[in-house]
Symmetry: C2
Subunit: 330 residues, 2 copies
């Protein structure tokens, strides 16, 4: 545990900044930045706690920093926005060495640099048990272009930006055998999805550029839970077609019930799920194709009151609104 809080914060202060609109970064009472013409501001917060969201035997410190920021960037992506800044609040326990904390910051800063994000503030406090990392991300999105969960309409196509469930499958391996065990290449690829998930900022931006009506959500709590959020916010129902869901090659050897559990209830994949008018679907898919990015039609929106239904071989099953629930798990 580092000796001096003030020295520690000063040493973490970035030596260069990316965002031209930043006026005052770390080092005063608060950060100051200029607004951007024709853009609105976006803000979201996400918190990870040791032994709730990660364990030292499932995640390296680098991964913990990386993933804590990724979860927030994913929320900005789910609005169609661009992430610009982050502030970090970290509660440090005696069980964490300065080297481990440096690694955590390095993971966070490496992902931040990919998006040219600046760390512009933070608070470092001590905690008796369990490291806690809470990150607030600020970004921007074009005026009136934010992509909301409430925009779905009956007749829409439900789309997904990539296969899901790998993060949960990777976590299952890690909980069973820890991060230091020997893994096959297939298993390693699942673990990578859990430890260093990639937020889908570029996909969100393509959806804003498309310019039409889009409902959108990121998959942090599992595909079922995220579809429920869209269905409820839009007062519709969603019918998923199992045969349309992309399945990652590394998932195929899994027993089908396990695979489904991870795909629908696993979470933390950070792909985007959304809806678009069916008449616009081909245009949107082509736009993604031209950008070299996949987009999968996985179902349709129907009249309804917030149900999510899975269709498979002619049978229809109501999905549960599970996802991970922090209060319920305890």
């Amino acid at each position: 545990m580092p000796y001096d809080e003030f020295d520690w914060i000063n040493e973490r202060k970035p030596t260069q900044t990316f965002q031209e609109r930043l006026e005052v970064g770390i080092g005063d009472d608060a950060a100051v930045y200029r607004p951007m013409a024709q853009m609105n501001e976006i803000v979201c917060v996400d918190t990870m706690i040791e032994d709730v969201h990660f364990r030292k035997d499932t995640m390296n410190p680098f991964d913990i920093g990386f993933k804590a920021l990724a979860a927030n960037i994913s929320d900005v992506a789910a609005m169609g926005g661009v992430p610009h800044f982050y502030v970090i609040s970290i509660a440090v326990t005696p069980g964490w060495s300065e080297e481990e904390l440096n690694e955590l910051y390095r993971g966070m800063n490496e992902l931040g640099a990919r998006y040219q994000m600046d760390m512009i503030g933070g608070d470092t406090v001590s905690s008796r048990r369990d490291l806690m990392v809470s990150i607030t991300v600020i970004g921007a999105v074009e005026e009136r272009q934010q992509l909301l969960r409430s925009a779905a309409e009956p007749g829409d196509i439900v789309f997904l930006t990539g296969p899901v469930g790998m993060s949960a499958a990777g976590l299952e391996l890690l909980l069973d055998r820890t991060k230091d065990a020997a893994y096959s290449e297939r298993e390693k690829s699942l673990i990578a999805y859990h430890q260093r998930p990639v937020p889908q900022v570029e996909a969100g931006r393509l959806l804003v550029e498309y310019g039409g009506r889009i409902a959108l959500n990121d998959i942090s709590d599992g595909l079922a839970s995220e579809c429920f959020e869209i269905a409820e916010a839009s007062s519709v129902s969603i019918e998923l077609d199992f045969s349309g869901l992309p399945v990652h090659a590394a998932m195929k050897p899994l027993e089908v019930q396990t695979m489904k559990k991870h795909m629908f209830y696993g979470g933390e994949d950070f792909e985007l799920v959304g809806t678009v008018a069916s008449s616009e679907w081909e245009k949107l898919r082509e736009q993604f194709w031209n950008a070299g990015m996949p987009l999968y039609a996985i179902g349709k929106v129907s009249e309804g009151n917030g149900q999510v239904i899975l269709q498979e071989n002619g049978s229809r099953t109501k999905l549960q609104k599970s996802g991970y629930n922090h209060f319920r798990s305890s």
Copy 2:
């Protein structure tokens, strides 16, 4: 501890909003708000942890919420800004009842409403030990008008918006006898400064309206520590005159060494300390006078390299850069 995280968050969602510039509040992946003409954005974060920043036997849940937000508003005030929004990350332990958490939110929301602030996001997670509340506040300040620590110049008058040290004196009482003991009226007033400190937003706004060069800091870690921050950021030294420091009536019965310890190293008073050109001092004091607010001249700025010196009866003492340090205390 509340049963369902999602229900819990939804129940906390405000039923009305204050800020006209808010586009999307709680309920989507992120909040969205419009920028304001000729204003820059401000952001800061502050975290409070059970048994580090507060104890259940020193603070009511209402006070904990109130004070967690106050600490952030104070940072916005120290930039001369107006607070508009807050997002809260809270880690809840089994030891906290739903009623206690409701009280915490009520304290936070009551202070927020005073400033017409909207709660626009949050993350609620479970924790095994120690409640943690981390709040990020977003505000605005006129372009090029933010008040920085680095603006002090030799010859400046050092000013203070009100007496300090009461919060630390109140904490000493609470640690000794807990919040439920019987206290005299004098002791109760000290305790109130600790439990419900008032951020100095109006004073910060007066300093921006004044329009001249001002260095500014809020007193979160003690008057000495905050003066060091100004002295170091401005590459000057600060000489405080003990006879010029206002002393709250409730502090006067204290033994003088105890009183000084609280005044210089106590922290969490949230008054503002700053500097202004000596030729402008009378004008600024009159402006505060006209607004019905005090402003005290407590010292002067001299050439130097970051020292803070206390003058008293002709003797000069170098103050220590103590303040509260989370790593050092453990």
